[in-house]
C-alpha cells in the first residue's frame, strides 16, 4: 500500500532537517558560516511552523489516524524549539568564535536536536514521538562533552563524565519508555496518540503497566524525582549554553511527550506522586546548593514538578502545563543567558560566591537576572512567572485537585528562599579584605575603620548573627573593597550577540507577562 505524503505538512521538519544539512555542508565546503546558517535555518523553521499553523494539515495517515498531526499546540512547541535553538546558538557564539568548541560540529548537532524537537511537536503516534525524543537527545550526549582545551589549559574530564552519565540514564529511560509502548501496543493494539487507551478486559493490567512505564520513561527526560539524579551533574559538567538547552528545550520535549500520553491514559495518581516528590525534593536540595548551575539545575527539577502537577489532572491540565512550560523555558533561558554573559565564554557556571556584587557593575544584566529569578519564583516585577503560577493553581483547583494546588503553593514559598538568596548576593557589597576585628588586640582602641569604608554604621554594632549578612562589618578595611573588586575582576564586555539574546528573551518575557492571553489563544488556536 502506498501512502500519499502531504509535503506541506512536513514543511517545519524539512526546514529543521534542512538546516542541519545546510550547516553540515557549509562546514565541509567552506569551513565557516555554520553559525549564520544555523540561525537562518532556525528562523526558517519558525516561519514554516507558523505557515503550517495557518493551514493545519496532517500526513502519514492510516485509514483513520495520522502519525503527523499539526495543531495549535504543535505550532507553539515547534516555534519554541526553533527559538530556543537560535538562542542557544547565540549564547554559544563567543565560545565558538574563540575555538572552545568546534563550530561546525556544534551547530550541526544543535540543529539536529532542533529537528528532533520539531518531530516531537507534530508526532501523532508513540513511535514517532519516541523517535523525535531520541533525535532531540542523541546530539546532546556529544554536545555535553564537546569542548576543546587550549594547549596550556588544564584538561578536565567533567564534561566527558557528564556526557556519559547523561548517555547511560537517557538510554535506559528510552528503553523503559519503549517497553511501555510495546506493552501498551500488545494489550490494546493502538499506537496513535489520538486513540491511546489502557485497554479493557484481561489485558487491562498489562496496559496499565505499559502506561506507567511510558510515564516513567518520559519522566526521566524531564528529570522528575526519583529519576532526576543525572540532571545536576550533567548540567554542571556541560558548557553553560548547552546546559541552557538541556534545561529548556530538552525538558520541553519531555513535557510534550508526557502531556501526549497522560491525557489519554489513567495515570493521575502516578503523575501526582511524581509531581509532589519532584517539586519538594528539587526545592529542598536547591536550598543547599553552592554552585550556580547546580542551583539552576535543582530549581529546574522543582519547576518540572510544577509542570507535572496539572498533568495529574489528565487532559484538563494539559493546556495549563504547556502554558507553564512556555513561561518557564523563557525565564530559564533568560537566567542561563545572564549566567553566560556574566561568566564569559570559557568559564563554567562557577560558585555562587563568584557572583557576589555582580549586578552592581552590570545593572542591566542584574535587572535581567532579577526578572528571571523573580519570575521563576512566581512573583512580579515580570508578570509571566506570576501568571504561570496562577495558571497551574487555577487549573488544579478547577479540576478538583485542591490538595495538589496547596503543595504547589507551599513549594513556591520554599523556592523563594533560594531565589532571594542568590538575587541578594548579586547586589551584595564585595567582601572586605582586612583583619577581623576580633583578632585585633583591643577592639575599642583599634583604629576606627577607614571613613571611606561603606559599613561604618554597621561596624559599630557587630553581632555574630550579622556576620553572614555583612562579612565586612567585622573587618578592618585595609583597602576599598570596591576598588579591589574592580581591579581583580575587570569587567569584560559582553558580546553583542549575547546581549541581543538576553534583550529579546527579556522583552518577550515582559510582553507575554502583560498579555498571557496570547499564549492561551495560541495553544487553543
Amino acid at each position: 500500500m502506498t501512502q500519499t505524503v502531504n509535503h506541506f505538512a512536513l514543511l517545519p521538519l524539512y526546514a529543521a532537517g534542512g538546516t542541519a544539512l545546510l550547516v553540515l555542508v557549509m562546514e565541509i565546503a567552506f569551513g565557516r558560516y555554520a553559525l549564520p546558517a544555523g540561525l537562518a535555518g532556525g528562523l526558517a523553521t519558525i516561519g514554516a511552523a507558523i505557515t503550517l499553523a495557518l493551514r493545519p494539515a496532517a500526513t502519514f495517515c492510516g485509514p483513520e489516524h495520522c502519525s503527523w498531526v499539526s495543531g495549535p499546540q504543535a505550532a507553539v512547541v515547534a516555534v519554541l524549539f526553533a527559538a530556543l535553538t537560535i538562542g542557544v546558538l547565540a549564547l554559544s557564539a563567543p565560545a565558538l568564535r574563540a575555538g572552545i568548541a568546534p563550530a561546525g560540529e556544534f551547530c550541526f548537532l544543535l540543529t539536529s536536536s532542533m529537528a528532533g524537537g520539531v518531530v516531537i511537536a507534530y508526532a501523532g503516534d508513540l513511535i514517532t514521538l519516541v523517535v523525535g525524543l531520541e533525535t532531540l537527545t542523541l546530539p546532546l550526549y556529544v554536545l555535553v562533552g564537546l569542548r576543546r582545551f587550549a594547549p596550556r589549559e588544564r584538561v578536565t574530564t567533567t564534561g566527558a563524565s557528564a556526557a556519559v552519565t547523561f548517555f547511560l540514564v537517557s538510554v535506559i529511560s528510552t528503553a523503559v519508555a519503549l517497553l511501555g509502548a510495546a506493552l501498551l501496543f500488545a494489550s490494546t493494539g493502538v499506537l496513535h496518540l489520538a486513540v491511546l487507551t489502557e485497554g479493557t478486559g484481561t489485558l487491562a493490567p498489562l496496559g496499565a503497566v505499559g502506561a506507567a512505564l511510558l510515564v516513567i520513561g518520559f519522566a526521566f527526560k524531564v528529570a522528575a524525582v526519583p529519576l532526576h539524579a543525572w540532571a545536576p551533574a550533567t548540567y554542571d559538567g556541560a558548557p553553560v549554553p548547552v546546559a541552557a538547552y538541556l534545561s529548556t528545550a530538552s525538558k520541553l520535549g519531555g513535557v510534550v511527550a508526557l502531556a501526549a500520553v497522560v491525557q489519554r491514559l489513567d495515570t493521575g495518581p502516578l503523575v501526582a506522586i511524581l509531581a509532589v516528590l519532584t517539586m519538594t525534593v528539587g526545592n529542598l536540595v536547591a536550598l543547599r546548593q553552592t554552585r550556580m548551575v547546580r542551583l539552576l539545575a535543582w530549581s529546574s527539577v522543582a519547576q518540572a514538578g510544577y509542570i507535572l502537577a496539572p498533568l495529574a489532572a489528565g487532559s484538563a491540565g494539559v493546556p495549563a502545563a504547556i502554558a507553564y512550560a512556555v513561561f518557564f523555558v523563557l525565564l530559564e533561558f533568560l537566567a542561563f543567558a545572564v549566567v553566560v554573559a556574566l561568566r564569559g565564554p570559557a568559564a563554567d557556571g562557577g560558585d555562587l560566591t563568584d557572583y557576589r556584587g555582580a549586578a552592581r557593575g552590570n545593572p542591566w544584566l542584574g535587572a535581567a537576572l532579577v526578572l528571571a529569578f523573580a519570575g521563576l519564583a512566581g512573583l512580579p516585577p515580570g508578570l509571566s512567572g506570576l501568571f504561570a503560577k496562577v495558571t497551574i493553581v487555577a487549573a488544579l483547583i478547577n479540576a478538583g485537585w485542591g490538595w495538589l494546588a496547596g503543595v504547589v503553593a507551599l513549594n513556591a514559598v520554599i523556592a523563594l528562599a533560594y531565589y532571594v538568596r542568590v538575587t541578594a548576593l548579586l547586589y551584595a557589597r564585595p567582601t572586605t579584605v582586612g583583619i577581623p576585628l576580633a583578632d585585633l588586640p583591643d577592639v575599642s582602641e583599634a583604629p576606627a575603620p577607614d571613613a571611606s569604608a561603606p559599613d561604618t554604621s554597621a561596624a559599630e554594632e557587630p553581632t555574630p548573627a550579622s556576620a553572614e549578612a555583612e562579612a565586612g562589618a567585622t573587618m578592618t578595611a585595609v583597602v576599598d573593597p570596591e576598588l579591589l573588586e574592580a581591579a581583580t575582576h575587570p569587567r569584560a564586555g559582553v558580546p553583542r550577540v549575547v546581549v541581543a539574546a538576553i534583550a529579546v528573551a527579556a522583552a518577550v518575557t515582559i510582553v507575554l507577562g502583560f498579555a498571557p492571553q496570547w499564549i492561551f489563544d495560541a495553544l487553543i488556536g
Binding site: A374, L379, P380, P381, L383, L386, F387, K389, V390, T391, V393, A394, I397, N398, G402, A405, G406, A409, L410, A412, V413, L416, A417, V420, R421, A424, Y427, P454, D455, S457, A458, E460, E461, P462, T463, A465, S466, E468, A469, E470, A473, P516, Q517, F520, I524
Partner: protein, 495 residues
C-alpha cells in the same frame, strides 16, 4: 461611567509606575535629581488620589472601570473606588509622597547607598498598594497583593540596619506564605462562583456554605499574616527594627492595611457565611494580639521594636472590630486602619529621627530628650498620646468603638472579649507612658546630648501627619463619611 473619571483611575496607577521606570532609568549622575523627580511623581499621584472623590456617590463604586485581560483565567482589569477604599488610597498617596520627599533630604546609610533606587522602589510599592485597594477583581487583587513583596524586601535588605538580610528574608517568606494561601482562596472562590468580580461576589452570591468556610479559612490566615494577627506576627518586629525609616513608615502606614482591608472587602464581603463561622476564633485571636502586644511592649527595650509591637496591638483592635461583624465594628476597623496609618507612620518617622541622631534605639541609652530637644520630645509625646487613644485624637475612635461593638454584640464570649480589649487599651496607655518617661523625661543621657534641632524637611514630613491625627480625632467623619452604605452592603449579607 464617564471616561475622564476612568482615565483618572488608571492614571492613579500609571503615574507612579511610569515614575518608577523613569527614575530607575535615569543616568547615574542624576542621583539627587532622580529623587526629586520621584517626589514630583509621588506628588502628582497624591493629587490624583485626592481627586478620586470628585465623582462621589453614596451607592456602589464611585468610579468603575472594567476591561477583559486574561479571559482564560477569568481575570478582568476591574478597578473601582468607594468609601471603604478611598481613605486608604489617599493615605497611601500621602505617605508615599512624604517618604519620597524625606528621601530627597536623607538617604539611609549603608546598604545599596543609592537613594534614587530607593525612591523608585517606593513608587513601585505605591503601585502595588494602590492597586490592591482599587482592585474590584479577586485575581487582580491577588496580583497587586504580590507586587509589593519583592520591592519591600529590597527596601529592607538594601537600606536596612545591620541584620537586614535576615529580617528581610523573614518578611518575604512569611508574607509569600500568606499570599499563596490567598491564591488558593481566590481560586477556590473563582472556580466555585465562575467569576472574580468583587461587585458580583459581595454577599457570597453563588457560593455554598462549605466553599465559603474553606475560602474564608484561607483568606483569614492569608490576611492574618499580612495584618499581622497574633500568632502570625513574628516577622513584623524584625522587619520594622531593621527597615529604614521610610520602609517602616510605608510598612506600618499602609502595607499592613492591605491585610485588614482584604479581610473586610474579600473575607467578609465574599464569604460572609465563612466569616460568621470563624468570627469567634478571629475575635479571640484579636484580643490575644491586643493583650500580648501590650505586654510585650511593656518589656521592650528598643524604640522601633516597641512601636512595631504596638502595631500588633493596634491591629488587634482593628481585627476585633472586623470580627464583631457589625456595622459599628467594621466602621471602627476602617477608622482604626486610617488612624493607625497616620499615627504609626508619624511614630516611625520620629523613631527614625531619634535613631539617626543618637545612633541607638535602646531605651536604656535614651533619656531626657526634653532637655536637649524639646520640640522633638513634644512631637513624640503628641504621637504617643495619639496612639494610646486619647479622646480627641485619631487613635481613640477605632479602639473605643471596637470595644463598644464587641460589647454590643452581647453574649458571654463577646462581653469578655470587650472587657479584655478594654484592659488591653489601658495597657497600651501604660507602655506609651513608660516610653515617654524613659525617652523624654529624666536627666539627658550622653546619647541625646548633642541633638540637632528638627530640620525643615522633617517638619515638612511630619506636620501633615500631626494635623491629620488631630483632624481625624476631632472630625472622624473625615474617614467615615462615605462608608455607611458600603458597610451596610457588607453587613447586609451576614446571617
Amino acid at each position: 461611567m464617564n471616561p475622564p473619571a476612568q482615565a483618572l483611575l488608571v492614571s492613579v496607577l500609571a503615574v507612579p509606575a511610569l515614575g518608577a521606570l523613569v527614575v530607575a532609568l535615569l543616568p547615574a549622575r542624576h542621583e539627587r535629581g532622580g529623587r526629586v523627580l520621584a517626589t514630583v511623581f509621588a506628588a502628582i499621584t497624591f493629587v490624583l488620589t485626592a481627586l478620586l472623590a470628585v465623582p462621589w456617590r453614596s451607592r456602589g463604586p464611585w468610579i468603575d472601570l472594567k476591561a477583559a485581560w486574561v479571559p482564560t483565567l477569568g481575570i478582568d482589569f476591574h478597578l473601582g473606588v468607594d468609601g471603604i477604599s478611598y481613605p486608604l488610597v489617599v493615605l497611601t498617596g500621602l505617605l508615599t509622597l512624604l517618604c519620597c520627599a524625606y528621601t530627597v533630604w536623607k538617604v539611609p546609610e549603608g546598604g545599596l547607598g543609592r537613594g534614587r533606587t530607593l525612591a523608585a522602589l517606593l513608587l513601585v510599592l505605591e503601585v502595588g498598594i494602590l492597586g490592591t485597594f482599587l482592585a474590584l477583581d479577586l485575581v487582580l487583587f491577588f496580583i497587586f497583593f504580590e507586587v509589593v513583596l519583592l520591592p519591600m524586601y529590597a527596601v529592607i535588605a538594601g537600606w536596612g540596619g545591620p541584620q537586614r538580610r535576615r529580617a528581610a528574608r523573614k518578611f518575604v517568606l512569611y508574607t509569600l506564605f500568606g499570599s499563596v494561601l490567598l491564591l488558593l482562596g481566590v481560586f477556590t472562590v473563582v472556580v466555585a462562583a465562575g467569576t472574580g468580580d468583587l461587585l458580583e461576589l459581595t454577599g457570597g452570591t453563588g457560593l455554598s456554605r462549605t466553599v465559603q468556610c474553606a475560602a474564608f479559612a484561607l483568606f483569614a490566615v492569608a490576611f492574618a499574616v499580612k495584618a499581622p494577627l497574633w500568632p502570625l506576627h513574628t516577622w513584623l518586629p524584625d522587619a520594622h527594627t531593621e527597615a529604614p525609616t521610610v520602609g517602616s513608615v510605608i510598612l506600618a502606614g499602609v502595607l499592613l492595611k492591605m491585610g485588614t482591608y482584604g479581610l473586610i472587602r474579600v473575607g467578609v464581603g465574599v464569604t460572609p457565611l465563612g466569616a460568621a463561622w470563624a468570627a469567634p476564633v478571629l475575635g479571640v485571636l484579636a484580643v490575644a494580639a491586643i493583650i500580648v502586644g501590650s505586654l510585650v511592649c511593656l518589656r521592650q527595650t528598643e524604640l522601633k521594636r516597641l512601636i512595631a509591637y504596638s502595631s500588633v496591638g493596634h491591629m488587634g483592635f482593628v481585627l476585633l472590630g472586623i470580627a464583631t461583624l457589625t456595622a459599628t465594628g467594621l466602621q471602627a476597623a476602617l477608622i482604626g486602619n486610617v488612624a493607625h496609618g497616620v499615627i504609626t507612620g508619624l511614630l516611625f518617622f520620629l523613631a527614625g529621627a531619634i535613631k539617626d541622631r543618637a545612633h541607638t534605639g535602646s531605651l536604656a541609652d535614651l533619656g531626657g530628650l526634653r532637655e536637649t530637644a524639646p520640640r522633638l520630645a513634644g512631637v513624640l509625646g503628641f504621637a504617643a498620646i495619639a496612639s494610646l487613644g486619647l479622646p480627641g485624637l485619631a487613635g481613640f475612635w477605632g479602639e473605643a468603638f471596637a470595644v463598644v461593638a464587641a460589647a454590643e454584640r452581647g453574649g458571654p464570649l463577646w462581653t469578655t472579649l470587650a472587657v479584655l480589649a478594654a484592659i488591653g487599651g489601658a495597657l497600651t496607655a501604660a507602655y506609651f507612658l513608660r516610653l515617654l518617661r524613659r525617652v523624654t523625661h529624666g536627666p539627658a543621657s550622653p546619647a541625646v546630648a548633642d541633638f540637632t534641632g528638627i530640620a525643615r524637611p522633617e517638619w515638612l514630613a511630619w506636620s501633615p501627619l500631626v494635623l491629620l491625627a488631630l483632624a481625624i480625632g476631632l472630625v472622624p467623619a473625615l474617614a467615615l463619611a462615605a462608608t455607611a452604605d458600603p458597610v451596610a452592603a457588607l453587613t447586609g449579607a451576614l446571617p
